[in-house]
C-alpha cells in the first residue's frame, strides 16, 4: 500500500487540521507517513497544500502522483488535477462552485454535515476524513479507534461528535460516491509500523537542542526557521532557557555569543537572509573561540527569494562566510530523526572545539512531518570540552598555546581567574596585539583543531550496491528522494547506488575518494543550480562529478523527478 493525499485550499481554511487528523489516523492504524507542506507567503487566501504519503513501508519523500485530493477551494479542485493518478478521486465540499465534473470528482456535504451533526463547521476535518476513508473502504472500526485516541484528551463529547460526523460522511459516501477508487482497504487490519512519534525537522531540532542542554536562544523570526524558535520558547519556562526575540539577526548572534562567553550553551535560528546579517558575529565567534550553534533553514534566494519554499543553495556561503580563515563545522540532517541527533552533536562539537557549528536545514526538512520511533534521550551526554581547573589561578590564560589548539575555558564569574576575549588578534591572555609571531601562532592554533574535528565527524553513508556503476551524490534533506530513486532503479536491475553526506564541513574525503575510484560515474543531485556540494568536493579532492542534476524551483524533489532527469540524460 502506498497512497498519497493532497489537501489543498486557501491559507486559513484548515488544511493543516485535516492533514493532521488524516495522518494521525493512519499512524494510529500502524502505517508510515511522510507529509510535506507547500504554501505561499501570506496569512490568508491563495492556494496552499499539504501532501501526505501513507505506506506500509518507511517513506522519506513525497511523490508526484496523487491518489486522493481533498479540495477546500476551487483552485484546489483544479490545480493538482494533472497529478491525479488513474483511479484517483477529488473530494470537495459541495459548496465549491465547480461544474466540469468528471468521474474522479466527488462533491460532498462536508461543511453541512459538520454543522448539522457536529454542531460546528470546524468538524469539517472529521467529515472529510469520513469521506476519504469511505472511498478507500477503510474499516470504520479502525478509524473510530484512532479518532478516540486522538481526541480522548478533549473529553468524551468531542470524541463522540467527531466520530459521529466522520461516520455520517462515511455512510453517506457509501451511498453517493459513484466513482471508483483503485484502493480497497476493506480487509485492512493494522499496519506494520510501531513508529508513533509524529515530528517535523524543526521540532526534532528544538528537542535535540533542549536535550543537549541549550540554555540561551536569541533569534529574529524568519521562515522557515521560526517554528524551532517558537518551540524552544514554549518550553523555556519549564526548563529555564533564556530566550529573546531580538531587534535583528546582528543582535541575535551577538547576544548568543555573549551568553556562551558567560557559560551558557547558546544557539540562533534563521534563514539565509538573517544569516547574511550574522556574518560579522560569526567571524567574532571564530576569533574569540566562543562556541555557538547556528541553524539556517534554507530557502531559495538571493534576497527575499521564495520565503516559504525550499533550496540548498547556502552551502558555500556558509562554508566561507566572513573575512579571514578559521575552522567551522557544518552539519546537514537528512530527516527529522537525524535532526534530533544532529542537534545534540552540534552543541558537543561546538564546545569541544570552541568553534561555530552550523546546521543546514531547509524548508523541506523544517516543515516535513514523519512518524519515527520513540526517541530515547537517556543516552545523551553533554560534553563541555576542556574546562579550566576550578580554583584561583591568576596565571590563567584563555588562549593558552596548546598542541591541539583547544585551550581550557573559564567563564566570567569564576573566582580567581580573569577571562579576556577579543575580536582583535590577541595574546594567550586575550589582550590584543599586533605581534607578527603571535599572529602566526594564533592562526596555527585555529588550524590545529581541524584534524581532530575531522576525526570526530561522521563519514558519508553509501547506500545500495557498493560496486554499482552509477553513484548519486547527495547531502542533507534530498536524501529521501534520491534514496527512493536508487531503490526503484536498482529494483529494475540498474547498477546504481547513493553516497550521502550529513557532516559536510570540514569534509571527510576518504570514502569520497574511494567511491569516485570505484564508480563509473558520480552524479551530483542537489537542490541548487550550481551543484555546490560537488564544487566543495572538487575543491577538497580535485575529483569532479560526471553529471549534475539540479532543482531550483523551490519545490520538493521527488524520486520520479530524479528518475526522469536520469532518463533525459540517457543514464538509465
Amino acid at each position: 500500500m502506498d497512497i498519497s493525499f493532497n489537501i489543498g485550499g486557501e491559507a486559513g481554511q484548515g488544511i493543516d487540521t485535516i492533514g493532521d487528523l488524516l495522518t494521525q489516523v493512519f499512524v494510529q492504524a500502524g502505517f508510515y507517513t511522510f507529509t510535506i507542506k507547500d504554501f505561499e507567503s501570506r496569512i490568508r487566501g491563495g492556494y496552499n497544500f499539504t501532501q501526505i504519503r501513507v505506506s506500509d513501508r518507511p517513506v522519506h519523500t513525497s511523490v508526484d502522483q496523487i491518489d486522493m485530493i481533498i479540495a477546500l477551494s476551487r483552485d484546489a479542485v483544479v490545480n493538482q488535477r494533472e497529478r491525479l493518478a488513474d483511479g484517483g478521486v477529488i473530494i470537495f465540499d459541495d459548496s465549491v462552485e465547480f461544474d466540469d465534473l468528471e468521474a474522479c470528482h466527488y462533491p460532498a456535504p462536508l461543511e453541512k454535515i459538520a454543522k448539522e451533526v457536529g454542531g460546528d463547521a470546524r468538524m469539517m476535518n472529521a467529515a472529510a476524513l469520513g469521506a476519504v476513508l469511505s472511498i478507500l473502504n477503510f474499516p470504520f472500526a479502525l478509524a473510530q479507534e484512532a479518532l478516540t485516541g486522538i481526541f480522548e484528551r478533549k473529553g468524551e463529547k468531542i470524541v463522540a461528535s467527531n466520530v459521529n460526523v466522520a461516520k455520517t460522511l462515511y455512510d453517506k459516501t457509501k451511498e453517493n460516491f459513484t466513482g471508483t477508487c483503485k484502493y480497497n482497504l476493506e480487509t485492512l487490519e493494522s499496519g506494520p509500523s510501531k513508529d508513533k512519534l509524529l515530528i517535523t525537522g524543526n521540532r526534532a531540532l528544538a528537542l535535540g537542542a533542549i536535550a543537549a542542554n541549550l540554555k540561551w536562544i536569541s533569534s529574529y523570526p524568519m521562515s522557515p526557521s521560526t517554528s524551532l524558535f517558537q518551540d524552544v520558547i514554549s518550553y523555556s519556562q519549564q526548563f529555564k532557557i533564556g530566550a529573546l526575540q531580538t531587534e535583528d539577526e546582528i543582535s541575535s548572534l551577538a547576544m548568543a555569543i555573549g551568553a556562551s562567553y558567560a557559560g551558557a550553551r547558546s544557539m540562533v535560528t534563521t534563514s539565509g537572509g538573517g544569516f547574511s546579517l550574522m556574518v560579522e558575529a560569526l567571524g567574532f565567534a571564530a576569533m574569540a573561540e566562543v562556541p555557538v550553534v547556528i541553524y539556517n533553514a534554507q530557502r531559495p534566494g538571493p534576497s527575499t527569494g521564495l520565503p516559504t519554499r525550499t533550496e540548498q543553495a547556502d552551502l558555500l556561503f556558509m562554508g566561507f562566510a566572513s573575512q579571514g580563515e578559521f575552522p567551522r563545522i557544518m552539519l546537514a540532517p537528512k530527516d527529522p530523526l537525524e535532526s534530533f541527533d544532529v542537534a545534540t552533536r552540534a552543541f558537543n562539537l561546538a564546545e569541544k572545539y570552541q568553534v561555530p557549528v552550523m546546521i543546514l536545514g531547509d524548508q523541506y526538512l523544517a516543515d516535513s512531518v514523519m512518524n519515527v520511533p520513540r526517541i530515547d534521550v537517556s543516552t545523551i551526554t553533554v560534553d563541555r570540552g576542556k574546562l579550566a581547573k576550578p580554583g584561583s589561578n591568576p596565571e590563567y590564560k584563555r588562549y593558552l598555546f596548546i598542541d591541539d589548539g583547544v585551550s581550557p575555558r573559564a567563564f566570567p564569574g569564576d573566582e580567581g581567574k580573569t577571562v579576556v576575549s577579543a575580536g582583535n588578534v590577541h595574546r594567550e591572555d586575550g589582550h590584543i596585539t599586533e605581534d607578527a609571531n603571535i599572529r602566526n601562532l594564533m592562526v596555527q592554533k585555529f588550524m590545529n583543531k581541524i584534524p581532530k574535528i575531522l576525526a570526530d565527524l561522521n563519514p558519508p553513508q553509501l547506500y545500495g550496491d557498493k560496486t554499482a556503476e552509477t553513484t548519486l551524490m547527495t547531502w542533507g534533506s534530498t536524501w529521501g528522494a534520491a534514496n527512493e530513486a536508487v531503490e526503484i532503479l536498482a529494483g529494475r536491475g540498474k547498477s546504481i547506488n547513493q553516497l550521502h553526506f550529513c557532516d559536510i564541513f570540514p569534509l571527510r574525503t576518504e570514502k569520497l575518494r574511494d567511491v569516485f575510484s570505484k564508480s563509473k560515474r558520480v552524479i551530483a543531485v542537489e537542490q541548487n543550480v550550481t551543484s555546490q556540494f560537488a564544487a566543495l568536493a572538487r575543491m577538497e579532492t580535485g575529483l569532479g562529478v560526471s553529471q549534475h542534476i539540479n532543482k531550483y524551483d523551490g519545490r520538493a524533489m521527488t524520486p520520479g523527478w530524479i528518475i526522469g532527469k536520469l532518463k533525459e540524460a540517457g543514464i538509465v
Binding site: Q24, V27, Q28, G149, I150, L197, L198, L207, I210, A211, L214, K215, W216, Y235, S236, Q237, F239, K240, I241, G242, L244, T246, E247, D248, I250, S251, S252, A254, M255, I257, G258, A259, S260, Y261, A262, G263, A264, S266, F284, A288, N371, R374, I375, V377, S378, I380, F411, P412, G413, D414, K417, T418, V419, V420, S421, G423, D429, G430, H431, I432
Partner: protein, 289 residues
C-alpha cells in the same frame, strides 16, 4: 578590598597624550575600587574604537572586546547568562550612535541591566578624524561635504535614552573626575538600563569640542535644582544640546528590568543550570500517538 595595583593595566595605553579617555579610565578604576565588588564578578565589554580599547588598560577584570556598534547585544547576552555579573559597556559615539544606535534604543526599551558608558568626542578618532553621529552641524572633517561641513544635526544620546525607556540617564565630563566617578558608580549599581554620556575631547582631531570648550560650556544639573524623577523636565534638559551642556543626572526611575521578564533560573545562572532529561523524555512521550 581592591587596591590600585590589582587594576594595573596589562598593556601600555595607546591613546594620544592629553586624550579625554585618560580621565574616563582613571574614573573607572576609582569607581571599581570604591564599589568594592569582587573583581571576578565584573565584565567590561566594548565595541571598536579608541574608547573600546579600555579593557586592555585595566588589569584583573574579565572583558569582551567585541565588534563595531555591537557591544550592547554582546553585553546583554553576558548579563542574561549570569545575572550575578556587573556588566559595563564602554562604547564611543561612532560605535554606539552610528552602527549601534538600533541596539542602543532597543536595549533601553528592554531596560536591560547594563551600565553603558559612552565616550563621546564627536569624531571617529581611530579611523583618523571623520565626523561622527554626535558631531555638531557644520563640523568640518575629511568626510563631511565641503562646505558646509556635516550637513545634519547630531544624535542626542541622552534624549533618545530617556524617550526609549532607559531608567538612569546622566552626562559626565572627563575633566570632572569627582563627578564622573559618582555617575559611574550609580550607573553600575543601578538596576536597569543606565547610560552615562561622557564628554571627552579628542585632542588630535576635534578642534571644536576641546577641553577649553567643555570647561566653558558645561554646568551642573544637580547644583541647579533639577528634578531627576520628572521625565519631561529631564527631556527638556536633555534637549539643551548646543551652546550649554548640562552635566549630572537627567533622569532616574525604577521599573522591572529585562531579566525579570525572561524564564531564567530563580537561583544561580544559566551557566550552571541543567535541563532535566527526564522532562525532555516526557515531552517526547507526550507527543507520541
Amino acid at each position: 578590598m581592591i587596591i590600585p595595583e590589582m587594576l594595573e593595566g596589562p598593556q601600555k595605553v595607546t591613546w594620544c597624550t592629553g586624550c579625554g579617555n585618560f580621565g574616563i579610565l582613571a574614573a573607572l578604576k576609582k569607581a571599581i575600587i570604591e564599589l568594592d565588588e569582587p573583581l571576578h564578578n565584573i565584565v567590561l565589554t566594548s565595541g571598536i574604537g579608541c574608547s573600546s580599547k579600555i579593557p586592555h588598560y585595566v588589569g584583573g577584570i574579565n572583558s569582551l572586546h567585541t565588534l563595531h556598534g555591537r557591544p550592547i547585544p554582546f553585553a546583554t547576552g553576558v548579563h542574561l547568562a549570569n545575572t550575578d555579573l556587573k556588566v559595563i559597556v564602554h562604547t564611543g559615539d561612532g560605535d554606539c550612535l552610528a552602527e549601534g544606535l538600533g541596539h542602543f534604543i532597543h536595549a533601553a526599551r528592554r531596560n536591560v541591566n547594563l551600565a553603558v558608558l559612552i565616550h563621546n568626542n564627536g569624531v571617529n578618532g581611530l579611523t583618523k578624524g571623520q565626523y561622527s553621529p554626535s558631531a555638531p552641524r557644520g563640523y568640518i572633517s575629511n568626510t563631511s561635504p565641503p562646505p558646509p561641513g556635516a550637513p545634519m544635526d547630531p544624535v542626542n544620546p541622552t534624549a533618545l535614552a530617556i524617550i526609549a525607556g532607559a531608567t538612569y540617564v546622566a552626562r559626565g565630563f572627563s575633566g570632572d573626575q569627582k563627578g564622573l566617578v559618582v555617575l559611574m558608580k550609580e550607573a553600575i549599581t543601578h538596576e536597569g538600563f543606565a547610560v552615562v554620556d561622557i564628554l571627552q575631547p579628542c585632542v588630535t582631531w576635534n578642534r571644536q569640542l576641546t577641553w577649553k570648550y567643555y570647561n566653558e560650556h558645561t554646568y551642573s544639573l544637580q547644583e541647579n535644582g533639577h528634578d531627576v524623577t520628572n521625565r519631561f523636565q529631564a527631556m527638556e534638559k536633555a534637549m539643551e544640546n548646543g551652546d550649554r551642556y548640562p552635566v549630572g543626572v537627567f533622569y532616574r526611575s525604577s521599573s522591572p528590568h529585562l531579566a525579570a521578564g525572561l524564564a531564567l533560573p530563580e537561583k544561580g545562572n544559566l551557566k550552571n543550570h541543567t535541563n532535566d532529561l527526564k522532562d525532555v523524555q516526557k515531552i517526547i512521550d507526550d507527543l507520541m500517538l
